[in-house]
């Protein structure tokens, strides 16, 4: 008895040793043990990047499962999603997970972005980490926008019409880009085919590549300590096991929240798109685009002789440009000083977005 168990143990160590020799695992574990993550009062904000990453994993897994039944095409898309949620065992769960996890991922990515913003973690030498993060945010929103159309329901059809027409508003390149996105002059089957291609091939490839660069940069520079913490004795936590365990517990919690949402509030499918029906009253895009949509309602037809929506979209583009370039604009943070002006600007952006999204749901007209 004793002999056999010790023999087993030997075999296990033998196997581990075999892989260790070939993969250098002990070196990697040793490295993780010595890698430290800053602790302290702001530590909670360091987890949202990880949560975004976890939800991206959920998206990949559930997305692959949906591909087994989804059929792109104006005649088949809606019916295939209907079949997934009504005819396929656990189909309702997979589809709901994909939709809810997408929304939570957008939320987590926004929280991650703004926590980095308010902690001024974009300051040198992490400008490229910020830029790749902004690219990942843009890709996340494009994922949301392209995936929204795929069930070919009424809300998605009009959201895509408006969304692609907004790109047409952008001066000079807009019309060409809109045609490129739509695969023609209108939102049609060609648009669905293109969005499907974007959503399941081009965006995942681009996102994965950008994510690897982002993670490499995070690893290379380590996590940023906030400006106020400078000079104090830095509180630190080992990445393994301390940070990893906390990450895992949080991810499990997020998965729990997801499953509760999917079970009690399964994602609706709506009614099939009809290109020759009126847009329904109360129509609005996903919440993460609602601040744009709601703002456009308040703009007059003409501002200083220019079409209102052109002014509005250019203002939003300028705002996005500001966020992208903030590491190069915030000179005080770059010198390691506090920069309250940028905190105020960030707070104004958050308040504006929250007010507009709330209005879109509470008082759309």
């Amino acid at each position: 008895m004793r002999l056999s168990s010790s023999g087993e143990a030997n075999a296990r160590t033998g196997l581990v040793a075999w892989f260790d020799e070939r993969l250098g695992l002990s070196g990697a574990i040793d490295f993780l043990r010595h890698k430290a993550v800053p602790g302290g009062a702001h530590a909670v904000w360091y987890y949202f990047g990880g949560v975004s990453l976890f939800l991206f994993g959920v998206q990949v897994a559930t997305g692959l499962l949906l591909l087994f039944y989804y059929k792109p095409g104006t005649e088949t898309a809606y019916k295939s999603v209907q079949f997934i949620v009504t005819g396929v065992p656990f189909g309702w769960l997979i589809r709901s997970l994909h939709a809810w996890s997408a929304n939570l991922m957008v939320f987590a990515v926004f929280v991650h972005m703004f926590s980095v913003y308010f902690l001024k973690a974009y300051r040198p030498p992490r400008e490229l980490t910020w830029l790749t993060g902004m690219a990942l945010l843009a890709l996340t929103l494009t994922f949301g926008f392209s995936g929204y159309l795929l069930p070919w329901n009424e809300l998605a059809f009009f959201a895509t019409k408006v969304g692609t027409d907004i790109t047409a508003v952008v001066p000079v390149i807009g019309t060409g880009v809109a045609r490129l996105l739509r695969g023609g002059d209108d939102v049609s089957e060609a648009t669905l085919t293109r969005f499907f291609g974007f959503h399941v091939a081009i965006l995942p490839a681009a996102f994965t590549a950008m994510l690897l660069v982002h993670l490499f940069l995070v690893q290379r520079h380590g996590m940023s300590e906030s400006i106020g913490q400078k000079g104090e004795e830095p509180k630190a936590m080992p990445f393994y096991p301390g940070f990893i365990i906390r990450d895992a517990i949080l991810w499990l919690g997020v998965l729990g929240v997801l499953l509760v949402l999917c079970t009690f509030l399964p994602w609706e499918l709506g009614i099939q798109a009809d290109p020759f029906a009126s847009a329904p009253a109360g129509i609005r895009p996903e919440w993460y685009f609602a601040f744009v949509s709601q703002s456009l309602k308040y703009l007059p037809a003409k501002i200083l002789g220019i079409d209102g929506e052109v002014v509005g979209i250019c203002a939003f583009l300028a705002g996005a440009g500001f966020l992208v370039l903030v590491p190069f604009l915030d000179r005080r943070a770059a010198r390691g000083e506090r920069s309250p002006l940028f905190t105020v600007i960030g707070a104004a952006i958050v308040v504006y977005a929250v007010v507009m999204v709330t209005l879109a749901y509470v008082k759309p007209y």
């Binding site: 009009f158 019409k161 408006v162 027409d165 907004i166 508003v169 060409g176 045609r179 490129l180 739509r182 695969g183 023609g184 002059d185 209108d186 060609a190 290109p275 020759f276 029906a277 009126s278 847009a279 329904p280 009253a281 109360g282 129509i283 949509s293 456009l296 309602k297 703009l299 007059p300 037809a301 003409k302 079409d307 209102g308 929506e309 759309p364 007209y365």
Partner: protein, 151 residues
Amino acid sequence: MGSRGEEVKSIGRRRLLDVLLSGGVIAFLGAVFYPVTRYLTPPPGREPAASSVTAAGVGELKPNSGKVFRFGSKPGILVRLPSGEWRAFSAVCTHLQCTVQYRADLERIWCPCHNGHFDLTGKNVSGPPPKPLEAFDVVVKGDEVVVVRRG
């Protein structure tokens, strides 16, 4: 003298090679991206052949109501005024291309996407739409209401 002359010659050769090589790279990228860009740009759509369409039956719409109909590849809206008169417009909102609807309570054409209002001549009267809706002619032929593109 002779060695300097060789140096000048070799710099000339190096430059020539640089130009040829970078020119080759640019030409290669052009040869890849030009067809790809052209491929991705959709070929021009077929213009809607329809210059007129039967939008509804005469008895189909009560006064103060409207109906969206298919006019070529785009939606149109047929409105029966409270007076019983017929009007027809493009149903594509001039703001961001949502499909408009008739609001009997306001006696106006309304776009729910961004709260745009048009009066019953198609004029943009409130909200963000920058232009009036394109108007069509309506001809009643027997039992049919026929909408005809102008011009």
